[in-house]
Symmetry: D3
Subunit: 295 residues, 6 copies
């Protein structure tokens, strides 16, 4: 016990576009993180955690080098770092939407490049040099890949022939009159550990608890609780017709002939379920919000 108190877990939070959604997720998971306006070493209400705000591109590097125990970063940047990491959990959230980040090969709308093979001998600019080189190597294509510090879209066609860039919604691509030729990689954030930390019993357990809570918060995001009273005689038909009710808790009501039903379902299913339930005679239907869910 005394030993445990001296332990601490060095955990990296990705600075940049994933920063706010990651902090929000941690808070929903029950970890309150305090970031001062300038500081890059946040504090938290869990004394075991030693936190670092690090660019998503570098989280993998510093875990791989053993300077940090674990951290959250995209599959893409972990791949780019090229170091050995233990993947403890995929966390399906993203910058602005719930869709994964995609790395796409992009050219101007009117470019002659129609398929990856047309890149032979061309110049490509990208923030993900490793991702792009691996992709070209797999396809046996030879092309010049140069590192881009950002604002990559402007470079075609004047400065390079094609770019490999990140998109969530594709809207920036359309706005810049560009065309997607291929998708190289689809990426969500993951929770990564160093092999050393993953082999340490205390750290492993600590990290798995954090992952459990993060996933509980993510699972609750698009789910809701639903309760209603139903005439007992309709129960079988309801379960037959509405498969999403099958995992309900059913309890008897004081009033004879009625049962109480409670279930957790996807929020977007509710608009189909409620009208059907009403037709079956359900009463007192209420939908309530969830904070966390462990199925």
């Amino acid at each position: 016990m005394a030993e445990e108190q001296s332990k601490s877990l060095k955990l990296a939070i990705p600075k940049g576009s994933l920063e706010k959604p990651t902090l929000d997720l941690l808070e929903k998971a029950g970890y309150n993180i305090y970031v001062s306006s300038r500081g890059l070493r946040p504090s938290s209400d869990d004394a075991d955690l030693d936190l670092f705000l690090i660019r998503a591109q570098e989280v993998g590097r510093y875990i791989g080098q053993g300077f940090l125990d674990c951290g959250i970063t995209g599959l893409d940047w972990a791949t780019e770092a090229g170091t050995e990491l233990v993947d403890l959990a995929e966390l399906p959230y993203s910058r602005a939407t719930v869709r994964p980040t995609k790395w796409v090969l992009v050219v101007p709308e009117d470019s002659p490049i129609q398929k990856p093979e047309d890149l032979e001998g061309k110049r490509i600019a990208t923030e993900g040099v490793g991702i792009t080189q691996r992709y070209l190597a797999e396809k046996g294509i030879k092309a010049d890949v140069e590192f881009s510090w950002g604002a990559t879209e402007v470079k075609v066609p004047d400065l390079v022939d094609a770019i490999v860039d990140v998109t969530e919604t594709g809207s920036s691509i359309k706005a810049n009159k560009l065309r997607i030729v291929d998708t190289l990689l689809t990426s969500f954030p993951h929770f990564y550990a160093s092999p050393e930390a993953a082999a340490d019993k205390w750290k492993r357990e600590k990290m798995e608890r954090i992952c459990l809570m993060l996933k509980a918060a993510l699972d609750a995001r698009d789910k809701v609780g639903l309760k209603m009273n139903l005439p007992e005689g309709q129960l079988k038909q309801a379960l037959d017709k509405l498969p999403s009710l099958r995992r309900s808790t059913v309890s008897p009501l004081a009033e004879d002939g009625w049962v109480a039903i409670e279930v957790v379902i996807e929020e977007k299913v509710v608009r189909h379920i409620i009208p059907a339930l009403k037709e079956l005679g359900a009463e007192g239907i209420i939908e309530y919000p969830l904070n966390k869910l462990v199925s």
Copy 2:
């Protein structure tokens, strides 16, 4: 099934002051609407919906002409449009408050006009020319009604003798030193359909489901869930004294002599109920929020 997929429902959302509360209500009802910064054709997560952002004044016209199947707009503007519409639901929300919009006949504080009849031969400016003309006709009053493009309050007394204008709270009227002479119309938003759409089985069912969900979201707005444990012996007295508990679900607790009570009640009643319950010996009283409610 295949046939249904090709169906679509053309639905108008009122652009302007009702736009944000209408989109918020749709989201609470389970329909996520995406409005791009410039676009007037929102998309949604319901593939059956074909959405239009249309000025509240014109929603009725385009449904009446058969160009759209249905839409949400105020009773006032639907009346003004003067076309045949099927009224599927009243939706009691409004721009800024929960009070209905009122069309009022307004004059300067010190105007000699004291009652509607004093308008005989006068000039009236209003955005609701039809509403005003119908009102005057009913009362047998003859007056000049001219269309106002807005900023109507400034027009009395220099440019016209009276105005007919919209108010929710009356605060703008007081701030401009005006006086209300009469109320012409009280209006909440309604969900309207065209006669053709209302006669189409698929469209009718679709529209009724949307209305059901919209009303479920509105009903949950000012309600909360309440749970508590009560000594079994106090149950009768509680139900006698607190009529709002009569629709409770009562279930036995493991501990002898206690029952669990759960009920949905108006949020504003809670401050009266809880002190009374406490006096009756209730324990573990919790209040929780609701998303939707179908009684």
Copy 3:
């Protein structure tokens, strides 16, 4: 003198998108207007002015009916009002840019309508019903014109075949994938008076002074003052090569052989003039801003 003090000029300022640029222009012209947050009757530091904030669409109507003496509104809305007005000055400013407002006939990019004549028998929605009807009449085209309360772009092609709408930059048109078929009217704000006010000596003089100051402020907008010292021997060559210097004030300097030159020129010419002047040996070239300019 005593008589003059009792006089007052009823002046309309256009409420809406022209409101802020009009108030800014009046302030640059030397008239400070105070608009309270709710009030539509601004006050000013000129006791002779009795000000009204009126929608641009209605300024012409109320001047034409004689309720107001004068006001600022677009040529387009003055035309739409169809009343007799005295045009005292064109004021070349606009909502967001320095370009005039254009009324354009617009269809979807892929519409079969290619020229005005293709509108025969079609439906057109517009806020400018009069402008559109006059245009169609001149061309001998018969089409249905219906009044639009705004958000007009969304209406093609589902609700109408074409629209007539206002644009300064055309960017909203491109963003909505529409195509311009023809331009009906090009419009800047004007200062209009009623025939009665224009015939009244005091009012006429007052209005002309205001117009003079408004134009002085507009003229100074894109002009700057330029001063420099030049070797006297270069003066002729400078005036020959740089026509914009010809209206300069030239004065002798204490130092023999040098003259001081001062001129008011267009700001955008300066980047061509200064390098040339430097080559001619000019020294101490300074550019300074102007508030007002009466040539």
Copy 4:
């Protein structure tokens, strides 16, 4: 009943840094307060309340003088006022955090003053003259205490030798390179009544109900509801290992061998409980938010 309607309770809300958190708390407690932009006499949806926005420093004075019945203000300012008040409830919230306000004796980091006794004969500036004088008297220290209107930190060491100032987090003190010598007082807001109001049956009951609701809202702030299903055989072990579950409601499930457990616990405990419950075989664990809680 008729008599009660004519009764009213004069209640002070502290204006200034406590204003927003106090209004938020009242709303969570079920009292909607409407503050107009300028007005200092808010209205509410409880017709019995007659509300005043009064500076926290003066709430105690006006209750003590009998002009108001009751009000919310900090223990510090109530002490400073020095009048006789009845303390009905401590309300543990604060300006920006959940920590109490502290009155601290502060000097520059490099001041020779190391303990309270070093203040003998020095000059102290403070907004809390009474608090400071009482503190010095208790310790038998003689020093000059002068009233400060604010911006007190700037005064050391040029204008005074030490200050007594308010802090929640200490961050402003560090930023100004100051050092805390001693803490004079720790203060949360309280609900105070005048002796007269506390002796009036109707007012006393009314005030106690308000206090009950305020505390119910505060208690729910950091608590959540937790539900799960557990194999019946694990129940004893769960209650043994997880003391926070001991107040659970346990109910039988339709499915044999399983029980449903529901409990209200501190949100910050959840991250420890859920992993343990999962290990014990719990399923369908959900966490949901609370509005109010009366244990």
Copy 5:
């Protein structure tokens, strides 16, 4: 010279509502002051200045006690402080407008108090206890004056009978349905020095230079420069008719028969002068802005 460098002037800037206009004025006067977000000891580009941000109420006290050499604060608060100060300059600016602050005796619109004498035996709340007591003493009125920490308007009539409060525009008074009975004091900011600093040669000179620059910036605020060319023959008539031109600089132009005129005048006069000048044949009239002006 070496001695001078070691000198410094301790100058107070009023914190609060006068802070921003005072810093703006100092900047226009040529002193750039840097206030960090939290710090109360601003730095500047004048190494001789040692700056303090101090509440306007206390500036006078700390100058009077000799802790500071000089500072800017309102005449009202300097009076309230009651210490001996040397008044070096009145600086006619204010919080939000260019009007002075007024201390007014205020009662509810429907109060029986109609004149100062009606206050006999009444209770008055005010932030300016000294100002109010001196006023009552002069008039021989006996009343209770209690210190108010702010939000004073709300106190009448429930808590006190009258208030003495500050106003620039009177708008807050009207909004709160109050009535002004009398004006106690009219106050602009002044530049005050301590008697010791005023007697020190270096400090006196330094302070007088700052005052000169502050007044130069204030004088330029509402003035503009005006230049034009005029036919020489019209000069006399112009000077006769337009008294504000009499201080013009007149210089001959190269072109025979024309003179150049340059003058600094009040901006608000320009709208009267320019039309008259144009009638007299003036050409090339330009108005340009000023930064500073020493007449």
Copy 6:
């Protein structure tokens, strides 16, 4: 002439922290640049310019590769790029202040590293790998330099031993409790051209004109115009005592015995000059702002 019209100059504007100050400077210089919200290819009112928004780090690379003719970027990034560039002008502005960017070697306050030589064998993180390696090579120090994607301050001491980072004011360094060991480079923006563009007559002339205008706008930034009238007899003494007046334009006034003096001087000198001038009897002293200045 016709040939020139087909010419165009490809000019890079640095995207990122220098973007806004660079666009502001171009506007002051007379070039209006229009950047749409998403687009990276700005347009301008100079048809000869073909503009690119490119990260400051890459401007040098693309000019060096010949894809662009010229551009503005910091001396630091141009050095880092390591390509051959023609340096046409230093432009002394920066991100937030008027101070140059500095690249500094930084360690934690309590690090044992006291001088550059202490870095031997250590790890350094930096965005400027080339700048850092060149610096180490010059000093004969061997250390590990790794590329940092940003948020570099957080890396010491946990992840690296020292960092090389950019600062304008040093405030971020102090806030993070770091210490500067050495300054590697001091950098202002420059206007760079490719050798090819510099050798093309039309492009060279075009670029030199742009540089001239940019410098004219920068020179005017901290200068003002000053005019006054002075008794002729005081002129010699004024010029003797106030060296900054020596480049004045002196002209005779109509009134005998007085001369008019006009001069351009540094704004920060004005507060010393004006009091001296006043003492010498100067009258009508005015200071006015400048847009551009070519000495």
